[in-house]
């Protein structure tokens, strides 16, 4: 089947396209700033505030820099909101501008908000617990409690843009980003919405950092080097990212500029013991296979892999095993990199950062650089992108894989069909 006939074989009402993107990453607000940094190999990882990491072996990470909220429209309404809501709101604003969508251009009942997260509103629940433990249950502030539910971020976005369609807030370990794409595709194809704001958020908290340090998951050497033989743990990142999704039919009908098409999505689970990843990465392998099958692509058609690897011993190896089992010989040739080398493990938000990098790669062929990885683990045998690289990318594979629990997902990104 030729390239065009393969994609045209699907009805335009079932094809899923991205018409806008927005984010707040460890580089600050804006997709452009993120892309410039990751494709130039510039890291966002730096020392954390000492007060946040008392007694920790790992003291580095990639926090979002302090924002100048006055620079944004209607800042007053969310100055006091939790950081997750601030970041997701800014990301949504950017995504809607890019998609040239606003309150005048949609039916509010037909626009949905679907967000994924790993730790949800942990930043808020930690504040409440401190009130409970150190003061009195009767002193929990009401305004704090209303922000503790996982869907508080989606509610704030629905309120701000008066969106009345269905709204999901989900979690599936730290890899919820492509589960959201899967549910968005399901909802769009079932006719439950015309337009979906799909995204993810996760926020660095001192308690979570200290817990992960106690668990031995963070890098004691303060280095994030996915796939490196000397990798010794992850570093925490954070942020929020949102994409505007619609069917190709809907995007064409309104004359939208299409940034990319998501031609395949796969979602699966390792289902291996409590909290463990399967050594062969069987859940991720299933997800990649499902995504490639849906896209009608073979292993040789994949021109770039945006990896989920986060510099932990087990996850990076399991992801590599999954790639080898599905892509076969092509696995050793196809360029691979993980943006987490530069942004840290931003949990569910990392999935959408990765998606944005893959969308940009199919756009202009520039790949994110895997800085910091000097000696690729011989057990891994992947073609890691170590310096600024440009090549033709027709199809990119983006992976999502949870180091907690074993949830896995993959998305295939191709260029705009127009």
């Amino acid at each position: 089947m030729s390239e065009e006939s393969r994609r045209r074989a699907r009805d335009a009402s079932e094809r899923l396209v991205v018409t806008g993107m927005g984010m707040v990453s460890p580089y600050g607000p804006g997709v452009g700033r993120f892309l410039e940094a990751v494709r130039g190999g510039r890291t966002a990882i730096r020392p954390l505030r000492e007060a946040d990491v008392p007694g920790c072996e790992c003291t580095w990470g990639a926090p979002v820099p302090e924002l100048d909220l006055d620079a944004f429209d209607h800042a007053r309404t969310f100055r006091r909101a939790p950081r997750a809501t601030q970041y997701a709101t800014l990301a949504t604003d950017e995504a809607l501008r890019a998609a040239q969508q606003n309150a005048g251009s949609w039916k509010a009942e037909r626009v949905g908000v679907l967000l994924g997260t790993f730790r949800g509103m942990a930043e808020v629940s930690e504040q409440i617990w401190i009130k409970l433990v150190e003061t009195d249950p009767r002193f929990v502030p009401a305004l704090l409690f209303q922000e503790v539910v996982t869907n508080a971020v989606a509610s704030a976005i629905s309120l701000r843009w008066e969106l009345r369609g269905t709204s999901y807030s989900i979690s599936s370990g730290n890899g919820a980003g492509y589960h959201v794409l899967d549910l968005a595709a399901q909802a769009l194809r079932a006719g439950r919405a015309d337009l979906i704001l799909a995204g993810a958020f996760d926020i660095f908290t001192p308690t979570n950092h200290q817990d992960l340090d106690d668990l031995g998951l963070l890098s004691p050497s303060n280095l994030c080097r996915p796939f490196d033989v000397d990798r010794d743990g992850l570093l925490m990142g954070e942020g929020a990212a949102v994409v505007v999704l619609e069917t190709l039919a809907h995007a064409r009908a309104r004359g939208a500029a299409i940034q990319a098409e998501i031609t395949g999505i796969g979602v699966a689970h390792d289902a291996h013991g409590s909290f463990g990843l399967h050594p062969e990465g069987r859940g991720l392998a299933l997800a990649i296979r499902e995504a490639l099958d849906e896209a009608h692509l073979s292993a040789e058609d994949v021109d770039y892999v945006g990896a989920a690897a986060n510099s932990t011993a087990i996850l990076d190896r399991a992801e590599s095993r999954a790639l080898h089992s599905v892509l076969g010989e092509a696995a050793a040739r196809v360029p691979v990199s993980s943006v987490k080398a530069l942004t840290g493990e931003a949990m569910a938000a990392s999935d959408i950062f990765n998606l944005a990098a893959c969308i940009a790669a199919v756009g202009d062929g520039l790949l994110p650089v895997q800085a910091g990885t000097d000696h690729v683990d011989p057990q891994i045998e992947l073609n890691v992108v170590r310096s600024s690289t440009r090549r033709r990318v027709r199809a990119a594979l983006a992976n999502s894989y949870s180091y907690f629990g074993g949830s896995a997902a993959a998305a295939v990104v191709e260029g705009s069909p127009d």
């Binding site: 409440i128 409690f145 369609g165 668990l215 699966a268 409590s274 949830s407």
Partner: protein, 417 residues
């Protein structure tokens, strides 16, 4: 290519509730109109304004789970694992012969394995917990079990289910959205079988939080009553086994009911209060009915969200009148009057009540409803259950942020041959 949508049936049920620790005792409790509310024992309650809740009574996970794993699981994971075991046993599904990459898990939860009390929070997290402790295996597994998504991972891992697994966390509508999303996954060919439902144990954080919002009752939960003064929290776990019609009939499974339609909407009105016009819930209900291909007059029973807060009960009554007409006599009842508000589990465990009502032919009661609010003038099945043959039941669930879900269940007459 999207294949034509499949019908989806419930073939197994599992429930842990304040009025019964399995589906059969839950059913008996619903018919008897049992009140599951009692003084809180799960945490130090002296300094809480509200000291009542619906706790599980005599829950002993050691009976259903391996004794060695119980100390390693959060209470949420223990509860959902016990409910899943009951549902799978009831469905008589032989997992050894199934393609487990086509079976997944979607659960609703608000708090998952979060600490239940100040004491648990102190034991788990720094700075209250002193020193490093990588050697303590129980502490380690509890910390790993705290993310909200973990309850789904635990079920997937126990049964080797490699399909799509996730949790919905949309506050009080989570458990019902979970059923809708799991149904859509089968309906559109992304899975063959799904375990769905919800879980939330009683924990101290919402007990304190709903108190400061003045949402908790001083004594009894009195939905739709003029003297109602709020809800009370409960704890529950619920699991429903969903299958495509083809898969269920081929193996001759018992069909409890069809998950016939699903709808969702958002009020976009306020972070916690509902839009009191009822337009938001009405849109979700209409979408669910349209999805099921049913007209409003074909619905025989409404399992209400029915929290007994001032705003919900009036709003929900208005929404039902918008859909069913202002003179409707359709029976409506609130299961929360018996088990309390079980948060992320409520949509799922109360859906099981609706499915039992369909299958066994009765209307669950609204306990403690003595003097109906003048603005609540429907038939709320006050105080006692009634026998009634039913074909179609609607379940509602509404959450913070005006997040609304509605699911329509239809009774299946024939047993598969």
């Amino acid at each position: 290519m999207m294949s034509s949508p499949k019908r989806v049936f419930i073939t197994g049920l599992g429930a842990l509730t304040p009025i019964g620790l399995d589906v059969e005792s839950f059913r008996r409790g619903l018919i008897a109109g049992q009140d599951g509310i009692a003084p809180v024992t799960r945490f130090e309650v002296q300094r809480h304004r509200c000291q009542l809740a619906g706790e599980l009574k005599g829950f002993a996970p050691e009976g259903a789970l391996d004794a060695h794993e119980v100390p390693h699981l959060s209470r949420a994971s223990q509860m959902i694992r016990v409910a899943a075991a009951e549902a799978l046993a009831g469905a008589a599904l032989d997992l050894d012969t199934e393609d487990r990459s086509r079976i997944g898990v979607v659960l609703g939860t608000d708090l998952g394995g979060a600490p239940a009390s100040q004491a648990e929070y102190r034991a788990l997290h720094r700075p209250y917990r002193q020193g490093r402790s990588r050697g303590e295996e129980v502490w380690r597994s509890h910390l790993l079990d705290t993310p909200i998504g973990s309850v789904a991972d635990q079920v997937a891992a126990r049964y080797g289910l490699m399909g799509r697994s996730l949790v919905m966390s949309t506050a009080c509508s989570a458990g019902l959205h979970a059923i809708g999303v799991a149904r859509d996954a089968i309906r559109f060919g992304r899975a063959e079988v799904m375990l769905t439902g919800g879980v939330d144990p009683l924990t101290e954080l919402p007990q304190a939080g709903f108190s400061v919002l003045r949402s908790l009752a001083s004594g009894q939960i009195r939905p739709f009553d003029r003297d109602r003064d709020g809800t009370l929290l409960g704890e529950a776990a619920a699991v429903l086994v969903l299958e495509s019609e083809e898969h269920a009939r081929e193996r001759g499974a018992r069909l409890w009911a069809e998950v016939a339609g699903y709808g969702g909407s958002t009020d976009a009105y306020h972070m916690t209060r509902p839009d009191e016009t009822g337009n938001g819930p009405a849109r979700a209900i209409r979408e669910a009915l349209a999805d099921a291909g049913l007209r409003p007059e074909q619905v025989d029973y409404v399992k209400a969200h029915g929290t007994a807060t001032a705003a919900n009960d009036v709003t929900e009554t208005r929404a039902l009148k918008l859909v069913f007409g202002s003179k409707t006599r359709i029976p409506v009842s609130s299961v929360k009057s018996m088990i309390g508000h079980t948060l992320g589990a409520s949509g799922a465990v109360e859906a099981i009540a609706a499915v039992l009502a369909l299958a066994e032919g009765f209307l669950p009661p609204t306990l403690h409803l003595e003097h109906a609010d003048p603005e609540c003038d429907l038939d709320y099945v006050a105080q006692a259950s009634r026998p009634r043959a039913l074909q179609v039941a609607l379940a509602n669930a509404f959450g913070f942020g005006g997040n609304n879900a509605a699911v329509v269940f239809r009774r299946e007459e024939r047993r598969a041959s």
